[in-house]
């Protein structure tokens, strides 16, 4: 168990980070120049880390699978970024942001990590402003804020409905500056396929040049994974089409442990699924719940008529509308956390009140705020989201309510890291959504951007120095070493194996099948029987995949089907581990809802006596069951209580 030292510093919560920073090693500028760092992924975490590390003087190699680092999926985040600035004088503070995040995560995150996140959050806003991020402003020229789910203060900074885009462009600009100075070498259209471990330390990666198909070796003194989450295991999700869990999964197979894989977030406000040809789900920002009211009809017969298209939503008078979030949760109303809002929507639809032909949609209505504030105000706040909605659905949300339904959105689980963000492989780090550390069992809105940038700008650049201080005598890593050769061979063999199956079914066929299993049994509501079914179903499907998948094209050319197949091969394994993890955690917490663990009125019920811990999985080999380790969670500064948003 030596491997699982979380390295949380001693001392009072508010002093842990500053004490830790004072205690850890620092690398001299002359030595930084001799050290190389690989950063995989160029979203908020990866781009901010790569830029900041290069500014410090390290030699950085950055990788992304897209054609440009600017395209990483952080760009799609809409609503905003939290920071404990207390600019609104509404009694916000670092402690309050910390407390909200721990509570919102249903007490399944580390206190020390979350406090540090809240502590550096104000610096993020300052940094982004200095970079020229055009945050929304008040008329007096000060920064504007809005509210998000699960909190009672206004601490969310935003740039229209494109906050993720603007923050990412800020980090990308910083990255570009370092590329132009020669401090970062950028490898776009390169996909990491393995991590290389030599003498027990991460020493490089194997990547495929996606244009030529060439398999290349890259060495470094440390490797940082910033490759996002694994939500695409569900096939339909709000993730980008290329988003995948493969980099994290290869790390797992090389010895990095994986934490809380069953914790995924289901976002309540997405455009509902239509038909069977759909490829992805589109998110409608949580910020819409500031001004939109969620409802379904009170009467079953009205719901029936809506589904058949006999009446429209505007035909239903106010007294016949069930504003179920306001009814069930009067104090938070439409701004309850995401997991609560998602389950409430599912509950109403399962009871027969769904409003689209599939019966899987609820209304998000802006009529009331348009009446109160005027169309202009709503347009200024959400114009681009309304336009996006109209383009997709052909319906005008200024005139009739949006239809929404929950969809997979974010992975709280991920690679296990200690307080330094280092995995169980020395020299291998995981940041942003790729790690597990800050959001517990449910992430609050506008906190993903905060975590990605906190890790990349303000945490990793300090903590990685502590490790690299011990590496200053290590010469440039030799990529001709046998460990690199073996890793490259493993990667090449697997690609050939996949390519040579030459079966009859497409990659998407298998991915959709996997998605059905995951959504039905490992989705919003889980039980023992279903999870067992999921495990055996995935195992069977994986065998079929390896026997019958058909990959066209060439190995040594741009080949999107080959890329998809490699990622899907890992999704089978990730999906199985998620089900295993969900099966063992017989409690309901955050996004993980076990039907066996509910209160009398049907709300989720945690079991702190048995499950106040992080579940950590260790890979023991192909076809072997992974080993489970436990990291107990100690709460010294918050009182555990059943979350209540009533």
């Amino acid at each position: 168990m030596q491997k699982l030292n979380s390295k949380i510093p001693a001392g009072p919560l508010a002093e842990k980070w500053s004490r830790h920073k004072a205690a850890i090693n620092v690398v001299s500028p002359a030595n930084k120049r001799k050290l190389e760092i690989i950063v995989v992924g160029t979203g908020l975490g990866g781009a901010s880390a790569a830029a900041s590390l290069a500014e410090l003087g390290y030699n950085v190699k950055a990788f992304c699978y897209q054609d440009s680092p600017r395209r990483a999926h952080s760009i799609a985040a809409q609503g905003g970024i939290n920071a404990a600035k207390n600019y609104q004088n509404d009694n916000d503070s670092i402690f309050r942001l910390f407390y909200d995040t721990v509570k919102g995560g249903d007490y399944r995150a580390r206190e020390a990590n979350v406090y540090r996140l809240a502590e550096v959050s104000p610096n993020i806003i300052d940094q982004c402003v200095a970079q020229g991020v055009p945050f929304a402003r008040e008329y007096g020229g000060l920064l504007d804020n809005r509210s998000f789910g699960g909190v009672l203060v206004s601490r969310t900074f935003y740039a229209r409905g494109q906050t993720g885009q603007q923050l990412l462009l800020g980090a990308y600009q910083a990255l570009n500056r370092q590329i132009s100075k020669g401090n970062v070498k950028m490898y776009s259209r390169h996909e990491m396929l393995d991590v290389v471990v030599k003498d027990g330390k991460a020493r490089g990666i194997i990547a495929r040049d996606m244009v030529t198909g060439e398999i290349k070796r890259f060495g470094a003194h440390a490797v940082v994974i910033a490759t996002g989450g694994y939500g695409n295991v569900f096939f339909l999700s709000t993730m980008a089409m290329g988003a995948n869990g493969s980099a994290a999964w290869q790390c797992y197979k090389k010895g990095a442990m994986f934490a809380n894989p069953s914790f995924v977030q289901i976002h309540p406000t997405c455009i509902p699924v239509h038909g069977s040809q759909q490829s992805k789900l589109t998110l409608m920002s949580e910020s819409l719940r500031n001004d939109g009211r969620v409802w379904v009809p009170k009467k079953l017969e009205d719901a029936q008529k809506l589904r058949e298209g006999k009446i429209g939503p505007n035909d239903i008078p106010d007294e016949d509308r069930d504003f179920y979030l306001e009814r069930r949760y009067p104090s938070y109303g439409n701004l309850v956390p995401r997991d609560v809002a998602s389950r409430a929507a599912k509950e109403r639809c399962d009871a027969g009140y769904g409003v689209n032909p599939e019966g899987k949609a609820v209304y998000l209505d802006f009529k009331y705020s348009i009446e109160r504030l005027g169309k202009k105000v709503i347009e200024a706040r959400y114009g681009n989201l309304f336009q996006m909605y109209e383009k997709i659905t052909d319906a005008d949300p200024y005139k009739e309510p949006m239809m929404i339904y929950p969809a997979i959105h974010y992975a709280m689980g991920g690679v296990w890291v200690d307080y330094n963000l280092m995995t169980t492989i020395p020299g291998l780090y995981a940041i942003g959504e790729a790690n597990f550390s800050d959001h517990g069992a449910n992430r609050l809105g506008a906190s993903a951007l905060m975590q990605g940038l906190a890790d990349g700008y303000f945490i990793l650049p300090y903590t990685i120095g502590d490790y690299l201080a011990g590496e200053i005598m290590t010469p440039k890593v030799d990529v001709n070493a046998p460990e690199f050769e073996a890793a490259e061979k493993e990667v090449t063999d697997r690609l050939y194996k996949l390519f040579n199956v030459k079966g009859t079914r497409t990659v998407d066929y298998f991915h959709k099948e996997l998605g059905h299993i995951m959504w039905d049994y490992v989705g919003m509501s889980r039980n023992e029987e279903g999870l067992k079914k999921a495990i055996s179903g995935i195992q069977k499907l994986r065998e079929e995949f390896w026997a019958d998948v058909k990959i066209p094209g060439e190995l040594n050319n741009l080949n999107p089907e080959l890329e998809k197949a490699g990622r899907l091969a890992d999704f089978f394994d990730i999906g199985e581990l998620m089900a295993r993890d969900a099966l063992l955690r017989n409690e309901s917490c955050g996004g993980h809802f076990r039907e066996e663990s509910v209160t009398e009125d049907g709300e989720a019920m945690r079991n702190d006596e048995k499950y106040a811990h992080v579940s950590i999985w260790e890979y023991l080999g192909e076809k072997k069951e992974p080993a489970l380790h436990i990291e107990p969670l100690v709460f010294e500064n918050v009182k555990l209580s059943q979350r209540s948003y009533k």
């Binding site: 900041s52 500014e55 897209q66 054609d67 440009s68 600017r70 395209r71 999926h73 760009i75 799609a76 600035k85 600019y87 104000p122 806003i125 300052d126 982004c128 402003v129 200095a130 970079q131 020229g132 055009p134 929304a136 402003r137 008329y139 007096g140 020229g141 000060l142 920064l143 740039a159 229209r160 494109q162 885009q165 462009l169 990308y172 600009q173 910083a174 500056r177 590329i179 950028m186 776009s188 709000t238 980008a240 239509h274 038909g275 040809q277 759909q278 490829s279 589109t282 336009q387 383009k391 659905t393 052909d394 700008y457 650049p461 998407d508 058909k550 066209p552 094209g553 741009l558 999107p560």
Partner: protein, 253 residues
């Protein structure tokens, strides 16, 4: 708004195996596409059919599929991102087409954007332009409080209008000269409108324009096709601002 089924479509698409290949059009038939499907979902269906028939599927760039990453880059029926306004290809829906239509799909055509395969082009030239100065030179840490820099709401909004650029390259593809002026203008204008960006404004305009010229993009002749086809409706008034910034920079040399 009810979805209909397009019984048959003819997809005339550019096929080119690699950068060296000469390339040609191929026409494929496709049946039963819902008008509620996005254009890229139609391409998924087409590719699925091709794979089943043993034909190499059509390579195309796509990622976020919600109109923000800027990676999708198809020239459809003679227009970047196809026959709708203010959308990317992933936001274009099949309700914009009729049963029996022949739909012509090409890659972006510009010397600075060489074709990699089929509809996939190399847009690293855009990254290179931004690397020439599309940033504010601040390191991480040591910056003032966010509210220490006051910015008028109008300036922030105007900066945001320009910053909304997704770097897709539709402006270049639409321009008869393959000019990247709107792209360059968007970044120059975004940073020029903010006090943080003013300090390096001259060098930025000079260096980015010089890099754009080196990379083989054409000159601007004020046709306005870029604005008309920009999925984010970025105005050519930003080109006017770029020209001002550039002239000021040149005269102060």
């Amino acid at each position: 708004m009810a979805d209909k089924i397009l019984k048959k479509l003819y997809i005339k698409v550019w096929r080119q195996n690699n950068a060296q290949d000469k390339g040609r059009f191929e026409t494929y038939e496709i049946e039963n596409v819902s008008t509620g499907s996005s254009f890229l979902e139609m391409m998924d269906i087409l590719n699925n059919n091709l794979i089943e028939k043993g034909i190499d599927p059509v390579a195309f760039d796509h990622d976020c599929r919600e109109g923000i990453c800027g990676i999708c880059s198809m020239f459809i029926n003679g227009r970047p991102h196809g026959p709708d306004s203010a959308v990317t290809t992933c936001q274009l829906h099949m309700r914009k087409f009729n049963d029996g239509d022949t739909i012509t799909v090409e890659p972006w055509r510009a010397a600075a954007f060489p074709v990699i395969k089929d509809l996939v082009v190399d847009r690293t030239a855009f990254d290179k332009i931004l690397q020439a100065g599309g940033f504010v030179s601040v390191n991480t840490g040591g910056v003032p409080d966010g509210n220490a820099i006051l910015i008028s709401r109008d300036d922030a909004e105007e900066a945001m209008d320009a910053a909304a650029c997704i770097g897709c390259g539709a402006c270049v593809a639409a321009c008869k000269n393959s000019s990247a002026m709107l792209f360059v203008a968007a970044k120059v204008s975004h940073l020029a409108k903010l006090p943080q960006g003013r300090i390096e404004a001259k060098a930025r305009a000079r260096n980015m324009v010089a890099r754009m010229d080196e990379l083989g993009f054409g000159g601007c002749t004020n046709t306005g096709a870029c604005e008309a086809e920009c999925p984010k409706s970025i105005s050519i008034s930003h080109i006017a601002r770029l020209n001002r910034e550039y002239l000021v920079a040149k005269f102060s040399e």
